[in-house]
């Protein structure tokens, strides 16, 4: 009797899961059925979309690379060192995840109007530039990369690093020679997650870098620009292309054994 009840419980849970997945399949199916593969290809071959695609791939790669460079030391610090106020710092590192995206863009825009921001812009111009796209992608992607690296280091025992210290390593050498080689799958996952997050970034880019065609236009801004002029077919084609890229990233992350 209890066996049957248990089966019924699993069946109900499976139905809820299947219902959710079906909902997503219907969403994507409806989007895909809106136009034909021929028209997708035609849209994706246009110079503006090719430029936006190229810019997206380049800026996402730079943003993810910078995010990883930040995430490794921060993730290591947050897992290996106990200090007062750590839980506050931990919460602060998640702020970009919970902030509304437009607010992040607004913060960037206002910061670069301050004296410090203007000095920085004298060396590297950011506002309404391609570098601004990378920065807008980086600020949010870095928070996700840090979260991934923190999880990676938490799962790795600190013992091998302790032994390395007794064998003659400095703390930096223990990180470089022992922790990093052990964390390489997590680093790949952090890069992929940061890359995927950057690819979907829209609000901060729109506010901080603008949506200038053939200049700062990336794929999410293309979707918005095409929608705003009523070209739904182009918006659909670009959206489906972004779904394909996101799925590829998800597969890559899963191949590393990490979870998004």
């Amino acid at each position: 009797m209890s066996f049957n009840r248990s089966n019924l419980c699993w069946l109900a849970l499976a139905l809820i899961t299947a219902g959710y997945l079906l909902f997503w399949a219907l969403l994507l199916g409806a989007t895909a059925a809106y136009s034909t593969p021929d028209s997708w290809l035609q849209v994706l071959r246009s110079p503006e979309i090719l430029h936006a695609t190229f810019l997206s791939l380049v800026t996402c790669s730079f943003a993810a690379g910078f995010a990883l460079l930040l995430a490794v030391p921060v993730g290591y610090l947050m897992t290996r060192l106990e200090f007062r106020g750590k839980s506050w710092l931990d919460a602060a590192l998640d702020i970009p995840i919970i902030l509304p995206p437009l607010v992040v863009g607004l913060c960037l825009l206002i910061f670069f109007q301050t004296k410090i921001g203007k000095v920085i812009e004298m060396a590297i111009p950011f506002t309404y530039q391609v570098t601004g796209v990378v920065l807008a992608q980086f600020v949010v992607a870095a928070a996700f990369a840090i979260r991934t690296m923190r999880g990676t280091f938490q799962h790795l025992s600190a013992r091998p690093e302790d032994v390395a210290l007794t064998l003659g390593c400095t703390r930096f050498q223990a990180l470089w020679h022992v922790a990093l080689p052990a964390a390489r799958r997590g680093m790949v996952a952090a890069f992929c997650i940061a890359w995927a997050r950057s690819l979907g970034e829209f609000g901060p880019i729109l506010v901080f870098a603008g949506a200038t065609r053939m200049k700062t236009e990336v794929l999410p801004t293309t979707v918005w620009l095409e929608l705003s002029v009523g070209n739904l077919e182009a918006a659909v084609a670009v959206s489906l292309f972004m779904v394909l890229l996101a799925v590829l990233v998800l597969v890559a992350v899963r191949a590393t054994g990490e979870k998004v």
């Binding site: 790795l156 025992s157 013992r159 091998p160 302790d162 032994v163 390395a164 210290l165 007794t166 064998l167 003659g168 390593c169 400095t170 050498q173 020679h177 022992v178 080689p181 052990a182 390489r184």
Partner: protein
């Protein structure tokens, strides 16, 4: 000679090690016993510098090393889980410390091969840790520690993961290694038979204090 002077370790207002003092002469095989959670591992970590004592001093051959980094103490440490480096082959594990010190490739190979022969792991030099048995891992961890040519070797329950037959073999190996390398060894164990077979100095942790039970 290792000297611990009034070593105290407190955490969250609870004293784990209470004024621990002991002197272990050079070339001694000391075994340390005590119940789980009594602070044996903490004491080893304080000795090799991985943990800072709340109070007290650590002296090696009369030199106060209390404020020295682990790498400056010349102490070999083999933790309970052996802590082999993930992703490094046996050859790289053993050669880790000499390479770090800038040893020339020829001399490095010689030292790795000599230790591998001594520990009977020469055929395993190109294997990763995942491809080693418990006994093989233990030999690699010992060889890795000895490649740094320490004066003192700290062993934290190194035989606990081995079955009976391998444990007997490993005990013979440990005795041989201690004599051949003229090492001072501090070996933490729960096993009375292991302590009896290996130790020339028997120590026991009792209520945060270290008691010398017998000296051979």
């Amino acid at each position: 000679m290792i000297q611990l002077e009034h070593i105290t370790w407190s955490v969250s207002s609870r004293t784990i090690l209470d004024q621990v003092s002991v002197a272990i002469p050079a070339n001694t095989y000391a075994v340390l016993m005590g119940p789980t959670g009594c602070g044996k591992t903490t004491l080893l970590e304080i000795l090799c510098g991985l943990r800072r004592a709340t109070a007290g001093r650590v002296l090696l051959d009369g030199v106060d090393v209390t404020d020295l980094e682990p790498r400056e103490r010349g102490i070999g440490y083999v933790p309970q889980d052996l802590a082999l480096f993930p992703g490094l082959r046996v050859r790289e594990q053993i050669g880790f410390a000499p390479k770090l010190r800038g040893m020339a490739p020829d001399a490095l190979n010689q030292r790795v091969n000599r230790l591998a022969e001594q520990f009977g792991i020469a055929p395993l030099l190109d294997r990763l840790p995942d491809m080693l048995s418990g006994g093989e891992k233990q030999r690699v961890a010992l060889a890795r520690a000895l490649a740094a040519q320490p004066k003192l070797l700290l062993l934290d329950e190194p035989l606990s993961a081995l079955d009976e037959s391998m444990r007997a073999e490993a005990m013979v190996l440990l005795q041989r290694v201690q004599q051949e390398h003229a090492l001072t060894v501090l070996h933490v164990t729960h096993s009375s038979s292991e302590a009896a077979a290996l130790g020339t100095l028997h120590l026991r942790m009792v209520a945060g204090r270290l008691v010398v039970e017998s000296q051979g």
